[in-house]
Protein backbone atom coordinates (compact mmCIF):
# COMPACT_ATOMS: atom_id res chain seq x y z
CA UNK A 1 0.00 0.00 0.00
CA UNK A 2 2.75 2.41 0.99
CA UNK A 3 4.62 1.71 -2.22
CA UNK A 4 1.50 2.12 -4.30
CA UNK A 5 0.77 5.46 -2.71
CA UNK A 6 4.35 6.54 -3.19
CA UNK A 7 4.15 5.56 -6.82
CA UNK A 8 0.93 7.46 -7.35
CA UNK A 9 2.38 10.46 -5.57
CA UNK A 10 5.48 10.30 -7.72
CA UNK A 11 3.39 10.04 -10.87
CA UNK A 12 1.35 12.99 -9.69
CA UNK A 13 4.48 15.05 -9.06
CA UNK A 14 5.93 14.38 -12.48
CA UNK A 15 2.61 14.92 -14.18
CA UNK A 16 1.53 18.03 -12.33
CA UNK A 17 4.80 19.77 -11.68
CA UNK A 18 4.79 21.58 -15.03
CA UNK A 19 1.42 23.02 -14.05
CA UNK A 20 2.81 24.00 -10.66
CA UNK A 21 5.88 25.63 -12.14
CA UNK A 22 3.91 27.61 -14.67
CA UNK A 23 1.45 28.63 -11.98
CA UNK A 24 4.20 29.89 -9.68
CA UNK A 25 5.59 31.68 -12.68
CA UNK A 26 2.30 33.58 -12.88
CA UNK A 27 4.04 36.87 -13.66
CA UNK A 28 4.69 36.61 -17.39
CA UNK A 29 8.13 37.46 -18.79
CA UNK A 30 8.90 41.14 -19.43
CA UNK A 31 8.65 40.48 -23.16
CA UNK A 32 5.23 38.84 -22.76
CA UNK A 33 4.07 41.76 -20.60
CA UNK A 34 5.30 44.22 -23.22
CA UNK A 35 3.46 42.40 -26.00
CA UNK A 36 0.28 42.10 -23.96
CA UNK A 37 0.13 45.64 -22.57
CA UNK A 38 1.54 47.60 -25.51
CA UNK A 39 -0.51 45.96 -28.24
CA UNK A 40 -3.95 46.82 -26.82
CA UNK A 41 -4.36 50.06 -28.78
CA UNK A 42 -1.78 49.68 -31.57
CA UNK A 43 0.78 47.10 -32.52
CA UNK A 44 3.58 46.68 -30.00
CA UNK A 45 6.14 48.89 -31.76
CA UNK A 46 9.47 47.06 -31.95
CA UNK A 47 11.96 48.33 -29.37
CA UNK A 48 14.73 48.71 -31.97
CA UNK A 49 13.11 51.79 -33.55
CA UNK A 50 13.84 54.11 -30.61
CA UNK A 51 16.74 54.67 -28.17
CA UNK A 52 16.43 53.82 -24.49
CA UNK A 53 15.97 57.49 -23.56
CA UNK A 54 12.80 57.57 -25.66
CA UNK A 55 11.40 54.42 -24.11
CA UNK A 56 12.04 55.65 -20.58
CA UNK A 57 10.34 58.95 -21.39
CA UNK A 58 7.35 57.11 -22.88
CA UNK A 59 7.08 54.72 -19.95
CA UNK A 60 7.24 57.55 -17.44
CA UNK A 61 4.37 59.50 -19.00
CA UNK A 62 1.82 56.72 -19.61
CA UNK A 63 -1.09 58.46 -17.79
CA UNK A 64 -0.92 61.06 -20.57
CA UNK A 65 0.12 58.96 -23.55
CA UNK A 66 -0.52 60.75 -26.85
CA UNK A 67 -3.84 62.03 -25.53
CA UNK A 68 -4.91 58.87 -23.68
CA UNK A 69 -4.47 57.29 -20.29
CA UNK A 70 -2.35 54.15 -20.79
CA UNK A 71 -1.27 53.87 -17.14
CA UNK A 72 0.09 50.61 -15.72
CA UNK A 73 0.76 49.28 -12.25
CA UNK A 74 4.35 49.70 -11.05
CA UNK A 75 5.36 46.07 -11.50
CA UNK A 76 4.37 45.92 -15.16
CA UNK A 77 5.78 49.39 -15.75
CA UNK A 78 9.26 48.51 -14.49
CA UNK A 79 9.33 45.14 -16.27
CA UNK A 80 8.31 46.62 -19.61
CA UNK A 81 10.67 49.59 -19.33
CA UNK A 82 13.49 47.14 -18.62
CA UNK A 83 12.61 45.08 -21.67
CA UNK A 84 12.42 48.12 -23.97
CA UNK A 85 15.65 49.68 -22.68
CA UNK A 86 17.46 46.37 -23.16
CA UNK A 87 16.31 45.99 -26.77
CA UNK A 88 16.43 49.67 -27.73
CA UNK A 89 18.34 51.15 -30.65
CA UNK A 90 21.85 52.40 -29.89
CA UNK A 91 21.59 56.00 -28.73
CA UNK A 92 24.49 57.15 -30.92
CA UNK A 93 22.77 56.24 -34.18
CA UNK A 94 22.62 58.94 -36.82
CA UNK A 95 18.83 58.95 -36.77
CA UNK A 96 18.88 60.43 -33.25
CA UNK A 97 21.73 62.91 -33.72
CA UNK A 98 19.54 65.98 -33.95
CA UNK A 99 17.90 65.25 -30.57
CA UNK A 100 19.08 66.11 -27.10
CA UNK A 101 18.32 62.60 -25.84
CA UNK A 102 18.72 63.51 -22.17
CA UNK A 103 16.12 66.27 -22.13
CA UNK A 104 13.96 65.87 -25.26
CA UNK A 105 14.21 62.43 -26.86
CA UNK A 106 11.90 61.61 -29.79
CA UNK A 107 8.61 60.11 -28.59
CA UNK A 108 7.46 58.91 -31.98
CA UNK A 109 8.95 56.65 -34.61
CA UNK A 110 6.86 58.52 -37.16
CA UNK A 111 8.68 61.81 -36.42
CA UNK A 112 12.16 60.45 -37.19
CA UNK A 113 13.89 61.77 -40.29
CA UNK A 114 14.27 58.39 -42.00
CA UNK A 115 10.59 57.64 -41.40
CA UNK A 116 9.23 60.78 -43.05
CA UNK A 117 11.79 60.40 -45.84
CA UNK A 118 10.84 56.78 -46.47
CA UNK A 119 7.09 57.44 -46.32
CA UNK A 120 6.55 60.91 -47.77
CA UNK A 121 7.32 59.94 -51.34
CA UNK A 122 6.42 56.29 -51.50
CA UNK A 123 3.04 56.26 -49.81
CA UNK A 124 -0.06 57.22 -51.79
CA UNK A 125 -2.61 59.56 -50.30
CA UNK A 126 -5.30 56.88 -50.51
CA UNK A 127 -3.14 54.39 -48.57
CA UNK A 128 -2.58 57.04 -45.89
CA UNK A 129 -6.27 57.72 -45.68
CA UNK A 130 -7.09 54.04 -45.37
CA UNK A 131 -4.55 53.59 -42.56
CA UNK A 132 -6.03 56.58 -40.69
CA UNK A 133 -2.74 57.36 -38.97
CA UNK A 134 0.88 56.75 -39.95
CA UNK A 135 1.24 55.16 -36.52
CA UNK A 136 -0.99 52.34 -37.77
CA UNK A 137 1.96 50.45 -39.29
CA UNK A 138 0.03 47.20 -39.67
CA UNK A 139 -2.43 48.78 -42.13
CA UNK A 140 0.35 48.86 -44.76
CA UNK A 141 2.99 46.44 -43.47
CA UNK A 142 1.45 43.03 -43.20
CA UNK A 143 4.44 41.67 -41.28
CA UNK A 144 4.47 44.55 -38.79
CA UNK A 145 3.23 42.47 -35.84
CA UNK A 146 6.29 40.26 -36.34
CA UNK A 147 8.68 43.15 -36.84
CA UNK A 148 8.95 42.96 -40.64
CA UNK A 149 8.58 46.21 -42.56
CA UNK A 150 10.15 45.54 -45.95
CA UNK A 151 7.53 43.11 -47.18
CA UNK A 152 5.66 45.23 -49.69
Amino acid sequence: MYRLMALVAFAAISFLSPALVSAQDATPSPEAQFTEECSACHLAYPAFFLPKESWSAIMNTLPDHFGEDASLDDGALKAIEGYLVKHAARSNRRAFRKYDLETAPPLRITELGWFTHEHDHEVSRSAKKRAGSMSNCAACHRGAERGYFDDD
Binding site: M1, I13, L16, L20, E68, D69
Partner: protein, 139 residues
Amino acid sequence: MKPTLKPTLLFNLLIAGAFIVPMASQAQDTSPAALIETFSLEAGRAGDATAGQAFFLATHSGGKPDTPSCTTCHTMDPTKNGQARTGKVIEPMASSVNPARFTDSGKITKWFRRNCNSVLGRECTPGEKADVLAWLSSL
Protein backbone atom coordinates in the same frame (compact mmCIF):
# COMPACT_ATOMS: atom_id res chain seq x y z
CA MET B 1 -1.64 0.62 8.14
CA LYS B 2 0.12 3.54 9.72
CA PRO B 3 2.61 4.34 6.94
CA THR B 4 -0.17 5.03 4.41
CA LEU B 5 -1.13 8.18 6.21
CA LYS B 6 1.87 10.21 5.13
CA PRO B 7 1.81 9.56 1.41
CA THR B 8 -1.96 10.06 1.30
CA LEU B 9 -1.57 13.42 2.93
CA LEU B 10 1.23 14.31 0.56
CA PHE B 11 -0.87 13.19 -2.35
CA ASN B 12 -3.87 15.23 -1.25
CA LEU B 13 -1.74 18.28 -0.74
CA LEU B 14 -0.27 17.82 -4.17
CA ILE B 15 -3.64 17.54 -5.80
CA ALA B 16 -4.98 20.50 -3.87
CA GLY B 17 -1.92 22.59 -4.68
CA ALA B 18 -1.98 21.72 -8.34
CA PHE B 19 -5.59 22.80 -8.63
CA ILE B 20 -5.76 25.79 -6.35
CA VAL B 21 -2.62 27.61 -7.44
CA PRO B 22 -3.53 27.88 -11.13
CA MET B 23 -7.09 28.90 -10.25
CA ALA B 24 -5.81 31.83 -8.23
CA SER B 25 -3.67 33.11 -11.08
CA GLN B 26 -6.10 32.43 -13.87
CA ALA B 27 -7.33 35.35 -15.98
CA GLN B 28 -10.95 34.20 -16.04
CA ASP B 29 -11.53 34.89 -12.37
CA THR B 30 -14.88 36.68 -12.38
CA SER B 31 -18.15 37.11 -14.28
CA PRO B 32 -20.32 40.05 -15.36
CA ALA B 33 -22.88 39.16 -12.66
CA ALA B 34 -20.24 39.00 -9.93
CA LEU B 35 -18.76 42.35 -11.01
CA ILE B 36 -22.16 44.05 -11.12
CA GLU B 37 -22.87 42.71 -7.64
CA THR B 38 -19.55 44.01 -6.29
CA PHE B 39 -19.99 47.48 -7.79
CA SER B 40 -23.65 47.61 -6.72
CA LEU B 41 -22.69 46.78 -3.14
CA GLU B 42 -20.05 49.52 -3.19
CA ALA B 43 -22.55 51.97 -4.67
CA GLY B 44 -25.34 50.99 -2.31
CA ARG B 45 -27.79 50.54 -5.17
CA ALA B 46 -28.44 48.14 -8.05
CA GLY B 47 -26.87 48.65 -11.49
CA ASP B 48 -29.30 50.35 -13.87
CA ALA B 49 -28.97 49.33 -17.54
CA THR B 50 -30.85 52.39 -18.84
CA ALA B 51 -28.58 54.76 -16.93
CA GLY B 52 -25.58 52.74 -18.16
CA GLN B 53 -26.69 53.15 -21.78
CA ALA B 54 -27.12 56.90 -21.37
CA PHE B 55 -23.71 57.20 -19.71
CA PHE B 56 -21.97 55.11 -22.38
CA LEU B 57 -23.50 56.99 -25.32
CA ALA B 58 -23.15 60.48 -23.84
CA THR B 59 -20.56 63.07 -24.80
CA HIS B 60 -18.69 64.03 -21.64
CA SER B 61 -16.40 66.90 -20.74
CA GLY B 62 -13.46 67.07 -18.38
CA GLY B 63 -11.42 64.34 -20.04
CA LYS B 64 -8.84 64.44 -22.80
CA PRO B 65 -9.95 66.35 -25.92
CA ASP B 66 -9.59 63.43 -28.36
CA THR B 67 -11.80 61.07 -26.35
CA PRO B 68 -15.08 62.77 -25.38
CA SER B 69 -17.15 59.55 -25.23
CA CYS B 70 -16.95 55.82 -24.64
CA THR B 71 -18.30 55.55 -28.20
CA THR B 72 -15.15 57.24 -29.57
CA CYS B 73 -13.56 53.79 -29.46
CA HIS B 74 -16.36 51.34 -28.67
CA THR B 75 -18.87 52.84 -31.23
CA MET B 76 -22.59 53.47 -30.66
CA ASP B 77 -23.37 49.74 -31.04
CA PRO B 78 -21.55 47.58 -28.47
CA THR B 79 -22.48 44.39 -30.33
CA LYS B 80 -20.16 45.53 -33.16
CA ASN B 81 -16.40 45.93 -33.38
CA GLY B 82 -14.95 49.20 -32.20
CA GLN B 83 -11.72 50.88 -33.17
CA ALA B 84 -8.86 52.37 -31.18
CA ARG B 85 -7.69 55.79 -32.38
CA THR B 86 -4.73 54.12 -34.06
CA GLY B 87 -7.05 52.04 -36.25
CA LYS B 88 -6.72 48.83 -34.28
CA VAL B 89 -9.93 46.81 -33.97
CA ILE B 90 -11.53 46.51 -30.52
CA GLU B 91 -13.70 43.43 -30.04
CA PRO B 92 -17.41 44.02 -29.26
CA MET B 93 -18.20 45.06 -25.67
CA ALA B 94 -21.56 43.25 -25.37
CA SER B 95 -20.94 40.04 -23.44
CA SER B 96 -23.68 38.27 -25.44
CA VAL B 97 -21.55 38.41 -28.60
CA ASN B 98 -18.17 38.40 -26.84
CA PRO B 99 -18.31 35.99 -23.87
CA ALA B 100 -14.71 36.77 -22.87
CA ARG B 101 -15.86 40.21 -21.72
CA PHE B 102 -15.89 41.11 -18.01
CA THR B 103 -14.31 37.87 -16.81
CA ASP B 104 -10.91 39.20 -15.69
CA SER B 105 -10.88 41.45 -12.63
CA GLY B 106 -7.42 42.89 -13.36
CA LYS B 107 -8.48 43.86 -16.86
CA ILE B 108 -11.69 45.52 -15.68
CA THR B 109 -9.88 47.58 -13.05
CA LYS B 110 -7.20 48.68 -15.47
CA TRP B 111 -9.50 49.71 -18.33
CA PHE B 112 -12.11 51.44 -16.15
CA ARG B 113 -9.28 53.47 -14.62
CA ARG B 114 -7.76 54.40 -17.99
CA ASN B 115 -10.91 54.94 -20.04
CA CYS B 116 -12.83 56.88 -17.40
CA ASN B 117 -9.80 59.09 -16.90
CA SER B 118 -9.45 59.64 -20.67
CA VAL B 119 -13.16 60.40 -21.17
CA LEU B 120 -14.18 62.07 -17.88
CA GLY B 121 -10.88 63.17 -16.38
CA ARG B 122 -11.65 61.13 -13.24
CA GLU B 123 -12.34 57.60 -12.07
CA CYS B 124 -15.85 56.25 -12.72
CA THR B 125 -17.96 55.83 -9.57
CA PRO B 126 -19.00 52.32 -8.50
CA GLY B 127 -22.57 53.24 -9.51
CA GLU B 128 -21.46 54.21 -13.03
CA LYS B 129 -19.51 50.97 -13.35
CA ALA B 130 -22.48 48.89 -12.19
CA ASP B 131 -24.75 50.74 -14.66
CA VAL B 132 -22.42 50.32 -17.65
CA LEU B 133 -21.89 46.61 -16.97
CA ALA B 134 -25.60 46.09 -16.42
CA TRP B 135 -26.26 47.56 -19.87
CA LEU B 136 -23.41 45.81 -21.69
CA SER B 137 -24.37 42.42 -20.30
CA SER B 138 -28.08 42.88 -21.08
CA LEU B 139 -27.74 43.37 -24.86
